[in-house]
């Protein structure tokens, strides 16, 4: 693809075109709904196919930003419209564009009311997600980062479960409260560095005295988004109440925004504070891993259980990032991608039985394997992947993170590993109660196995889960160079200070 082609902008804003088309459709409600479904599906598939150009065209040997675009936006203020991807972000763009069509397909029948608005929300959400991972300007990043809240708030609030209003409000206000502190940090950087361009900011040295403050301002936002213990409480509520596809996007992409923020801003811009407060992050991460795993063990609601397991997995991710080792960071990024695929798939699995029985209560089920063997097989695959069975996606990332943590501090590694053991316990316990046992409930006897549409939704996720587990280097190779460059810069910054101190 020729260098001048604005691929990233196209990926970002094409969904909006789809949304505009859906918005302009008028007519009978049923026809409009069907039109909206197809338009949204085709838009998102086209976006996904276009985004494959990133997969094939990305130069893995370079740590530089690629596919960059720059347009003046507010030149007086040093704010530009600057897009680009490097190894850290390119796969997340692909993850977003890949999950969106699956989500739209998964909502094909389960969303029956206000289909038009639902599809518009999803396409706007895709714009915000892709834009956020591509933005190379702080203000632009913030715009997308916050913009995500609007469609997600509506998705949870309009199409969610019984306590949807509470969950949507909590989701919005928690995230907003964290983000505005980040806004102040962004403003500080803006007028002190005189630019909001991210590559240019990397060259700016933030005074050491201020780094701690900025670090906490960024932390306030990212910790809520990740979410880290103790600000994770919005997540179970949001997940439980959101419609299935909303949960998939929430777990698959939105949680990654926080961790991505750490990698993109906290580490490179604030090396001292990052190093200084790494023990704090370790503590919070280990607490998150063990505590939320124990909580997950006690859940009666399938979605809540998986939501808590997400918090635990994200604890592994933050742990890995702050080890400042190549394994740890690569492992963290890999875990994020794997978690995006696997937990998304698990939420879809819950959605499958929810659509049929309209209950997420674990005790409502039992013996489902007898009537839905295909479903049982898929659910098992993703359960194993979530546990981190070798040969599946999660194993690679978690393994790398634990190794890296061991190098830094065996206790931290021990804490992280405990989480993996507990993870096996709660996931297997869930699986046993839902799938195995006697088929006693009369209404479960008539359940139909997966439909062709559902197989289509799951197929890519199965392929990805196994591919990532068996041949991880086709993914790792994307971000290894960038991680190495990030670490080299981080160490150089610390060393300069050490020399100056002597």
């Amino acid at each position: 693809m020729n260098p001048g082609f604005p691929l990233l902008s196209l990926l970002t804003f094409l969904p909006l075109v789809g949304a505009a088309i859906i918005l302009s459709v008028r007519g009978e409600e049923k026809v409009v709904a069907q039109n909206a479904r197809w338009t949204a599906l085709w838009t998102s598939i086209i976006v996904f196919l276009l985004s494959l150009a990133l997969w094939f065209g990305f130069d893995k040997s370079s740590a530089e930003f690629q596919f960059t675009e720059e347009v003046d936006w507010l030149p007086d203020f040093g704010i530009g419209y600057h897009m680009g991807v490097d190894g850290l972000s390119v796969l997340f763009v692909l993850l977003s564009t890949a999950l969106t069509p699956l989500c739209i397909l998964a909502s094909w029948e389960s969303i029956g009311t206000r289909v038009r608005e639902y599809m518009i929300s999803f396409l706007v959400l895709e714009t915000m997600m892709v834009g956020m991972f591509c933005a190379l300007d702080l203000v632009l990043f913030y715009v997308f980062f916050e913009g995500v809240l609007i469609p997600m708030f509506l998705i949870i609030g309009v199409w969610g479960g019984p306590r949807r209003v509470y969950a949507a409000m909590k989701f919005f206000l928690y995230t907003l409260a964290g983000s505005v502190l980040m806004l102040l940090a962004i403003l500080w950087l803006w007028y002190n560095a005189g630019t909001t361009d991210i590559p240019e900011l990397f060259a700016y040295e933030v005074p050491r005295a201020v780094q701690g403050w900025l670090f906490f301002a960024f932390l306030a936002s990212f910790a809520v988004k990740v979410p880290m213990w103790p600000v994770h409480t919005w997540l179970p509520d949001a997940h439980v109440e959101a419609p299935t596809a909303g949960s998939v996007i929430l777990a698959g992409v939105l949680l990654k925004m926080g961790a991505y923020g750490f990698l993109r801003f906290s580490l490179p811009l604030l090396p001292f504070a990052s190093a200084e407060y790494a023990p704090l992050i370790f503590t919070l991460s280990v607490v998150a891993v063990i505590y939320t795993s124990l909580v997950a063990l006690a859940q009666q609601d399938m979605k809540k259980l998986i939501a808590y397991s997400s918090v635990a997995h994200m604890g592994i991710v933050t742990l890995g990032i702050f080890t400042f080792t190549p394994q740890g960071m690569s492992g963290a990024i890999f875990t994020m991608l794997a978690h995006g695929v696997v937990s998304g798939a698990l939420f879809l699995c819950v959605g499958v039985v929810y659509d049929r029985v309209h209950s997420r209560e674990i005790a409502r089920y039992g013996g489902v394997a007898k009537v839905m063997p295909g479903y049982a097989l898929l659910f098992m695959l993703f359960t194993m992947a979530s546990i981190g069975l070798p040969g599946t996606a999660n194993f690679v990332g978690e393994f790398l993170v634990i190794i890296a943590a061991w190098k830094v501090n065996p206790w931290v590694a021990g804490g992280g590993a405990t989480g993996m053991i507990l993870g096996a316990a709660y996931m297997l316990y869930l699986y046993r109660r839902v799938i195995f046992g006697k088929l006693e409930k009369p209404d479960l006897r008539v359940l139909l196995d997966l439909s062709a549409r559902e197989y289509v939704v799951f197929a890519p996720l199965v392929v990805l889960t196994i591919w990532m587990g068996i041949y991880p280097s086709s993914f790792l190779s994307f971000f290894e160079t960038s991680v190495a460059a990030l670490l080299a810069r981080h160490e150089a910054a610390l060393n300069v200070a050490k020399l100056a101190g002597m």
């Binding site: 936006w73 507010l74 007086d76 206000r114 608005e117 203000v139 913030y142 715009v143 997308f144 916050e146 913009g147 809240l149 609007i150 708030f153 509506l154 609030g157 309009v158 949807r164 209003v165 949507a168 409000m169 919005f172 206000l173 907003l176 409260a177 505005v180 502190l181 806004l183 102040l184 403003l187 500080w188 803006w190 007028y191």
Partner: protein, 473 residues
């Protein structure tokens, strides 16, 4: 004497008299024609404002500069848009009388005089020319007890504020020997001793102006008047006069009293912080949407004054950008409120909006955009308004003020979200009536501005920059 500088004001005043005569004489109903003529006059004045030269007139009483032009255009646009909203509402509520647009026209003339004031005397004349028509139109629905109460309350408190302003003016005149802004600026130049009398007078002037802008602690009238007055009148109150009052505060404090910033800055910091806090906390419990908008506007004035209180060029520019965006958001929101009626009857509780997302998706979408924008969620315009004032506060080292600002915007987020919640998440058996095309047009125009501002912010920001450069010199 170059009286031609004041042509926009002269045009408004003369056409006001002509329209008055033309409307009184015919026997039939002239309300619609009157409204249209007034909107035409406002547009004419806007064109004249755009063609205006810089300079002073009337022995230095009147000044024409880019700052004035920026603010006058905002006021004229706000007044014209709210009059457009009023036409249909007044007809349905049997309030359609030609006096309404005329009074609005005279009030707008007052705003223009205020904005162009270069002397404490013309400040007072402009302010009174603005206030008297406002007292009357607050009580315009004379058969309604609430409306009459609103008018009376506004009048009594407004008279008190005018008294404060006059008293302050007389003190300043007594101690500085002039009321002309240029001469005052000389008298207060750095190095000159500052007498206590001037400081007392200055505080009284600020109090009088803060009343018009409804900043805490001079906000008490706002919720009652907003609630009691007919909705289009509230829309008018919330838009143009607010911009004019903020413009006047900026003009007075950065002009003659610029070198006394040590004295007024702390007052403004306090007013700004208190307005933001009260605006966000007091709005939480409101059930009437007009009352909620009153508290919301108090909060917005707090954000706008944040830019002025840090006393930097960037801050003043932030004020101008904020007011422009505020005006457009507000006009759009009130377009929705004006169209709130069930089976022909006007309703104004938040719960009346229930189910709007289903019954009128278009109106609900615009309203949601205005609410998200007021809450300051990007990528909408309201976010950029806040961005510039927060930037100014951070740059000037007022981190605490910025922290209050972001804290209150999260709290504000709660009640704006509540409206969206009611519209989309709740349902109702009795949907509201559809909005009329004219009102829908105002909604769509304002909504599109909010959505598209991000694409092309440069013109507004450039114009604000130019205006500030003229003001600060």
């Amino acid at each position: 004497m170059n009286w031609t500088l004041a042509l926009p004001e002269i045009l408004l005043a003369v056409s006001g008299l002509v329209i008055l005569l033309a409307c009184v004489i015919p026997k039939q109903d002239t309300a619609y024609g009157g409204s249209m003529a007034v909107i035409g006059a406002l547009l004419g004045a806007a064109i004249l404002v755009l063609m205006q030269d810089d300079g002073t007139a009337f022995s230095g009483q009147y000044i024409a500069d880019p700052f004035g032009r920026f603010m006058k255009l905002l006021c004229l646009a706000g007044a014209a848009a709210t009059l457009l909203l009023a036409i249909d509402f007044n007809e349905r509520e049997k309030l359609a009388r030609f006096e309404f647009p005329l009074l609005a026209l005279f009030a707008t003339t007052g705003m223009m005089v205020m904005i162009s004031a270069n002397d404490l005397m013309s400040v007072y004349i402009g302010l009174e020319l603005l206030s008297l028509p406002l007292y009357v139109i607050a009580a315009f629905n004379r058969d309604s007890g609430r409306s009459a109460e609103a008018g009376l309350k506004y009048f009594v408190l407004g008279a008190l504020a005018s008294g404060l302003l006059l008293y302050g003016t007389s003190l300043v005149y007594g101690f500085a020997g002039s009321t002309n802004f240029d001469k005052l600026a000389e008298a207060f130049a750095p190095g000159q001793p500052v007498s206590a009398g001037v400081v007392v007078g200055l505080v009284f002037v600020i109090a009088g102006l803060a009343f018009k802008a409804s900043a805490v602690p001079f906000h008490m009238w706002t919720p009652d008047v907003y609630e009691g007055a007919p909705t289009p009148v509230t829309a008018f109150f919330a838009a143009a006069p607010k911009v004019a009052a903020i413009a006047l505060i900026v003009r007075v404090l950065t002009g003659p009293f610029a070198d006394l910033s040590d004295q007024w800055q702390q007052v403004l910091l306090l007013i700004s912080a208190a307005s933001m806090l009260l605006g966000s906390f007091a709005a939480i419990g409101q059930r009437n949407i007009k009352r909620l908008m009153a508290y919301s506007s108090i909060g917005h004035v707090g954000y706008a004054l944040m830019g002025l209180s840090v006393d930097t060029d960037v801050g003043v520019r932030g004020v101008l950008i904020y007011m422009a965006i505020y005006l457009i958001m507000n006009v759009g929101t009130f377009a929705v409120l004006v169209s709130m009626r069930r089976q022909g009857k006007s309703v104004e509780l938040i719960d009346d909006l229930a189910g709007l997302g289903r019954s009128h998706p278009g109106t609900a979408m615009w309203m949601a955009i205005f609410m998200f924008s007021m809450a300051g969620v990007p990528p909408l315009a309201g976010f950029f308004g806040k961005l510039y004032v927060f930037l100014a506060a951070m740059q000037a080292g007022y981190l605490w003020l910025a922290l209050i600002g972001v804290g209150t915007s999260v709290i504000g987020g709660y009640y704006y979200l509540r409206i969206i919640k009611v519209m989309y998440f709740d349902s109702t058996e009795q949907p509201l009536d559809a909005a009329t095309p004219g009102v829908g047009l105002v909604m769509a125009g304002s909504g599109l501005f909010n959505v598209l501002f991000i694409l092309w912010p440069a013109p507004l920001i450039g114009a604000a920059q130019l205006a500030v450069a003229a003001l600060v010199g």
